[in-house]
């Protein structure tokens, strides 16, 4: 009898290194030095790029220097814009998280610590490229200068909510802003983005698509459907996996991150797998720019894993101190994206601590002003859309059975 028939089998269930009460433990992780990773040509094959799935593209060092071939050499104006949008995103999150605590809405989700991803990518994309986001990319809307007050109206489900109070707070939608309606079901938007990109190619358009999902939801079948279709039809799409380490209370090992990287999912599909420091604004920008150029040249999709850390709770409905060390975020070895870009601008002589403080105050005031405007219209269950509006937009035209049900409300 072979040994395999004598050994009792045992089931492996991945566990994170640290739980509440433990010391945060990121030891044993090694990252390439900033500037150390070469920048390949955009027409490199998926196979040639295999190693990128296991590395980490970094530009900024911890002192704020931009290093190596991926440095995007952005103008100081662009850098300041990026920084201001990140600061504004954080200020918006702070206020709306508080608004939920004050009972003004039912739910909120911050993107604390992940601001660089959506903001840098919004700037690297063209304003009319189509985004199929998940629920933590509010930075896209903010960087595309979508009105904050409309975001708040949506969050408050008030009479000015562009979505007529139908969606959970933060599930924004704006065709005008190139921001697809957010679904609560995870990863569904990823193959849809691929379809949109295929249609854009079908139509001979110049716009590309970009989509985001968390590392946790790469386990969904839809992610793999998307990868298959994107690869088969060389869709002009950028598939972004935001690896923020935590899917509610499940660490990334539960999604398969213990054995490999999420970027490596691209290898099997022949899709270029770039892995980037998601807290490094310049690296995120540069990698996105590379993927944009590739898509626009009919060379097909790119998979980007943004290596980051979810600084806040999953949503207002959970307390992360119940499942991870409370100070884990502060120990994150790749720092805070806003601090790092600030340091870079200061080191260039294009920014100062005073200017930064002023920018933070200005962002807080902008958010306060928008908040006053939105709250004037109403907050949750105070001046909502009229009840008969419930029946609109199920279909283009109201069929008889919905007319009958609407009439039933008044009986």
């Amino acid at each position: 009898m072979s040994p395999s028939r004598t050994n009792a089998l045992s089931l492996h269930v991945p566990m994170p290194r640290a739980r509440p009460g433990d010391k945060p433990d990121f030891s044993g992780w090694s990252f390439p030095e900033p500037g150390a990773t070469p920048r390949p040509d955009v027409d490199a094959s998926g196979a040639e790029l295999r190693d990128y799935a296991y590395g980490l593209i970094r530009v900024l060092d911890m002192d704020g220097n931009a290093l190596g071939p991926w440095a995007p050499h952005l103008s100081p104006d662009t850098l300041r814009r990026g920084l201001k949008y990140m600061v504004l995103t954080r200020a918006f999150d702070e206020r709306m998280h508080r608004a939920q605590r004050q009972g003004k809405t039912s739910f909120y989700m911050q993107c604390l610590g992940e601001e660089a991803i959506a903001v840098a990518q919004a700037l690297a994309l063209s304003p009319d490229d189509m985004c199929f986001p998940s629920y933590r990319q509010q930075g896209l809307l903010i960087a595309r200068e979508y009105p904050l007050v409309d975001m708040m109206n949506q969050i408050y489900s008030n009479a000015a909510d562009p979505l007529k109070g139908r969606q959970l707070p933060i599930m924004y939608s704006s065709k005008q802003a190139g921001f697809f309606t957010i679904s609560g079901n995870l990863a569904t938007q990823v193959p849809q983005a691929v379809g949109w990109a295929m249609a854009s190619a079908y139509a001979g358009d110049v716009r590309i698509a970009a989509t985001w999902l968390g590392e946790g939801s790469t386990a969904e079948g839809d992610f793999h459907s998307a990868m298959t279709f994107a690869s088969v039809y060389r869709a002009p799409v950028i598939i972004n996996v935001v690896n923020n380490q935590w899917a509610i209370s499940s660490f990334q090992g539960i999604a398969g991150g213990e054995n490999t990287t999420f970027a490596a999912r691209g290898v099997g599909y022949g899709i270029p797998p770039l892995r980037v420091d998601g807290n490094d604004f310049l690296a995120v920008y540069a990698v996105t720019q590379w993927a944009v150029e590739r898509a626009r040249s009919n060379l097909g999709p790119t998979l980007i894993e943004h290596f980051s850390y979810r600084g806040g709770p999953h949503s207002t409905s959970d307390d992360p101190a119940r499942y991870r060390p409370a100070d884990e975020g502060r120990s994150w070895p790749l720092g805070d994206p806003i601090e790092r870009l600030k340091r870079h601008l200061i080191s260039l002589g294009e920014w100062s601590e005073d200017q930064h403080k002023a920018a933070q105050e200005e962002a807080a005031e902008t958010v306060r002003a928008a908040g006053r405007e939105a709250e004037k219209v109403g907050t949750l269950s105070d001046n909502a859309h009229p009840r008969e509006s419930m029946f609109d937009d199920v279909y283009k035209e109201l069929p008889w059975h919905l007319r009958a049900q609407r009439a039933e409300q008044d009986q």
Binding site: M130, F132, P162, L163, K164, R166, Q167, M171, S173, S174, K175, F180, T181, S183, N185, T188, V190, P191, Q192, A193, V194, G195, W196, A197, M198, A199, S200, Y202, A203, A209, G221, D222, S225, A226, T228, F229, V232, D392, D393, V394, Y395, K396, P399, W400, H401
Partner: protein, 337 residues
């Protein structure tokens, strides 16, 4: 006018729409070069190029989701799910996505796509090639569900489905693709060419969604049917000696409540027939609608003749499939009640 089978009529609808509208395109498993396992997309790749008619990976979730993305972009994709039984891996994309995108975006994004699926039994297809899952779609707010029963209707309804600005589930009764099988296995199936409804204009025409059709007028009893069961109902009406009115619903959502009400108000009796399993089947909805709208006209309980609440049994298919004999028994019960 040309005599067409249902397959040819569906092909003609696609051909017309692809010729008229550059945004109409089609894809699915084996749909491109081969023209689909039932040949509904035959010659379309040859005529319109691989860009507009192509093969898809075996991934119904991906087919449905990419079609949604295309429709959101502004195309009018028509996708084929090779058998309705294969839809389930893509079901979330229909239920949570296609059906709700207009609603959740308050009309900003829309999904004008058509999902074609051959469905139904009577072909010795076993559990995974015989199901009738229409109730899984009619239960979903935001989807329309259409089922033709003749070549003429199939073309006009498919054109309306493609032109519709909402997602439409288009179920094709594959047992009657090539002839109006009426459930009598002991007789040869008449080919469509002998049937008046196989006369199909080559040009574009529409049959509006939401309109039923009275196929046989009668005074005694109303049979509500769709798909293959329409022909079973017609055969049962002829053989039973009961003066039954046969209504082909053609669209299940939105259903033509006026046609149903008018007929049952006249006859006072109603039998519902479908191939699908009974519990929570579409017949339950029809029965409830008749009860709600025609209760004071009813002279007998409503009966349902349906597939049994079992998986589709391969060797016992003909015990399972609703035949004219089973329907006639129910009609007699309703007449005697």
């Amino acid at each position: 006018m040309t005599s067409m089978t249902m397959i040819q009529a569906l092909n003609s609808a696609l051909d017309n729409m692809m010729a008229r509208d550059p945004n109409v395109m089609t894809f699915g498993e084996d749909v491109g070069y081969f023209g689909g396992v039932f040949r509904v997309t035959e010659h379309l790749q040859e005529k319109y190029g691989a860009r507009r008619c192509f093969d898809a990976p075996i991934n119904e979730g991906g087919i449905t989701a990419t079609a949604i993305g295309m429709a959101v972009y502004g195309l009018r994709p028509v996708v084929e799910i090779q058998f309705a039984d294969y839809m389930y891996p893509g079901y979330d994309q229909l239920v949570s996505e296609a059906a709700r995108i207009r609603y959740r975006s308050a009309g900003d994004f829309t999904v004008p796509m058509t999902v074609r699926m051959p469905y139904g039994g009577g072909i010795y297809g076993g559990q995974t090639h015989s199901q009738s899952p229409e109730a899984l779609f009619t239960h979903v707010a935001g989807l329309k569900t259409v089922i033709p029963s003749t070549p003429y209707d199939a073309k006009g309804l498919l054109i309306s489905a493609i032109e519709d600005d909402d997602p439409v589930i288009f179920l094709e009764p594959k047992r009657i693709y090539n002839g109006p099988f009426d459930g009598r296995r002991d007789r040869p199936v008449t080919p469509w060419s002998k049937h008046a409804a196989s006369e199909v204009p080559e040009d574009h025409y529409r049959i509006p969604l939401g309109q039923a059709k009275v196929l046989r007028e009668g005074a005694d009893l109303t049979i509500l049917a769709y798909g293959t069961m329409v022909h079973v109902a017609l055969a049962a009406a002829e053989e039973s000696g009961i003066d039954a009115e046969v209504i082909d619903l053609r669209t299940l959502v939105p259903v033509d409540i006026e046609a149903i009400t008018k007929s049952v108000a006249k006859t006072g009796r109603c039998v519902v027939v479908h191939e699908a399993t009974r519990t929570s089947g579409y017949g339950a909805e029809l029965s409830a609608l008749v009860q709600e709208h025609c209760f004071y006209h009813l002279e007998a309980p409503i009966e349902r003749v349906t597939g049994y609440d079992t998986p589709y049994p391969h060797a016992l298919e003909w015990e399972y499939f609703p035949t004219p004999q089973r329907l006639i028994k129910a009609m007699r019960r309703v007449m005697e009640a």
